[in-house]
Amino acid sequence: MRLRDTPEEAAFRAGLRAWLAEHVPRHRDAGAPGGWTKALHAAGYTGLTWPAAYGGRGLPPTYQGIYAEESALAEAPEGVNVIGLGMVGPTIVSHGTPEQQKRFLEPILSGEYVFCQGFSEPDAGSDLAAVRTRATATAGGWRVTGEKVWSSYAHQADWCLLLARTQPGSTAHTGLTCLLVDMRSPGVRVLPLRQATGDSDFNQIVLTDVPVPRDCVLGPVGEGWRIAMTTLAHERGTFGITLTARLAVEFDRLLRTVHDLGLADDPAVRAEVAELHVQLQGLRWTGHRTMAALARTGKPGPESSILKLHWSITNQRLAAFALRLLGPAAVLHGPDSHAAGHWQHLRLRSRANSIEGGTSEILRGIIAERVLGLPRTR
């Protein structure tokens, strides 16, 4: 066991931290989507763990962990990258044809292609296998019709990794296929969905007879479920580390709020701050253990569900506590409020934490069945 960076890891971390300190402020309200990816790419920070043959640096997963941690601590505009660099790219590395790898990987690394993920549908949320969007075979490939919802960044994306039903009459996990859909194809309409916070960064995608050429099928036809699960597993890989580091940033902000409001001597406040710290530490060090397991086995196990689950609980608890600190002024929002409404926004936004990327009920089911080996409920 070793709970410190190796000299190489430490050097990587220091270099990255210095680079982020210099570049993040300029990109924080990043203009063009993919702009941040381009900057990262120029500095050699994309595709850290991708094999060198695909333009990556072939580093062990610990480096991706360091990257995830440092970029979250620096509050880098990572959102869009999670999908292309974190999920779709690795899926193309594992399942793409050599032509697809040549065509997509370099543009994903360089930020030229921004990806979104089109999995969820109005009737297929937790039950993702209920996907109804259908792809019908044509002479040149497929024609796709259906509706996707809650697709983050679809309004900025060039491409979409889409899960569709290619076998008519099939149900559940069979007969599904993953497609790489050009968002500029005829028949693709993106309608912004506003979140309960008022932000609009997720969307509805309506597909009407959208042509998808045969060479844009990712993995074998009919094997879409397995491909989609690889994508989601990649999402869960280092994402726990990212989430924990973002929580650490909020925790520091919480400490500042406590001081700003003159509450640092209040015993009830002190107890809750210390309690939140213990939860955060638990998440941080479990994240490092998960990372080590990933480095050994190559794929994240169901244990990674506990990070997402407990992160959402802790983030929600922190947000509720922070807002309570504001007293009656918590009712304000906008310019008159403490920290320009940051805590009000987090309080509202954090409720979706236990929904997005798998609901807490579904995650508890995974832990109960796949980790604890309890009998299945369904």
Binding site: R324, G327, P328, L332, H333, G334, L348, I355, E356, R364
Partner: protein
Amino acid sequence: MDFALTDEERDLSAAAARLLADRYPVERVAALADADGVDPDTWPHLRRQGWCDPDLGMVEKGLLAQEGGYALAATPWWSTVGLAHPIHRAAGRELTPDPLTVAWQDDPAGGGCHAVRQGGRWRLTGLRALVTDATSATALVVAAGTDAGLALFAVASPADGLTVEPQPTLDRLRGAARLRFADTPGELLVAPDSAGRILAQARRHAGTLLACEAVGVARRALELARRHAGDRVQFGRPIGAYQAVAHRLADSYVTLELATSLALRACWLAGADDTEPAEVAHAHAEAVVAGRQAAVRACEDALQVTGGLGATWEYPLHWWYRRALWLDSFDTPTGGHLATLADHLLAGRPEPARPTA
């Protein structure tokens, strides 16, 4: 003892629910919140139905407040009847059905309000913040410092030297405003010798009604969640058939029922005349704490049960959640209410229990 609503109380509740259901279908709630959160049209209907009737008992007002929370009625009724009327009554004024509000809170950024008497007339200068329903009110009650201590003044709105600046709020249906006074004419309502006590009583009266409103908010959130859990199918079954969903809603219901009991009890005690002041004060604190918990909890449970749908702006649940968060932080913090109860419970060392001879 007979802790049940009378037939008249039930009828009053049902009639209020019908009126509000008619005035505030969900789409209208969302549209009002998306605009400026003010609905001037419903006030005459409330007046006609007797919502501002000076003879209403506290339990009746509590029932109306519950329906107001359930419907998320965008009216200044609570500010008028809950906050201002007790002060007007104490000052010996006739209660009129005009929208009113009370301004007593300091601006979070600092700065209070004071009044001076010049040539027999009072003038107010300074700031009051977080004033509810100030844009609808035609008259205000303002707490201002004088040489002899805090006093309560009547100020017309609009008035010379009065600026009403709306403050953006999390709950857009219960707007706040910052009031700036610059030599604004006012009329003394309650002199410093009793102003502190009268203001505290009014805040408690209003706070008890908010505990009732919280119960209404919780009831509506649970209702939305219950309906969704019955309709939404995933993995081939309505999600309400999964225990994780069903038990969450069952617990939410338990919290709601406990809060309902304490809110109604606090109303009854506040209106009864054979009570100890301490009993009323403690019942109030208990009702507020339980009501806030029920409202926040029911909304958060409902958000969880409605999944991605509940995370959208279009699904109206977040308007009730925003109200629950408003209720959770308006006026005395929950910690203050808990401290009141703890002070009482831990005052003096209890006598050791004596074995029966």
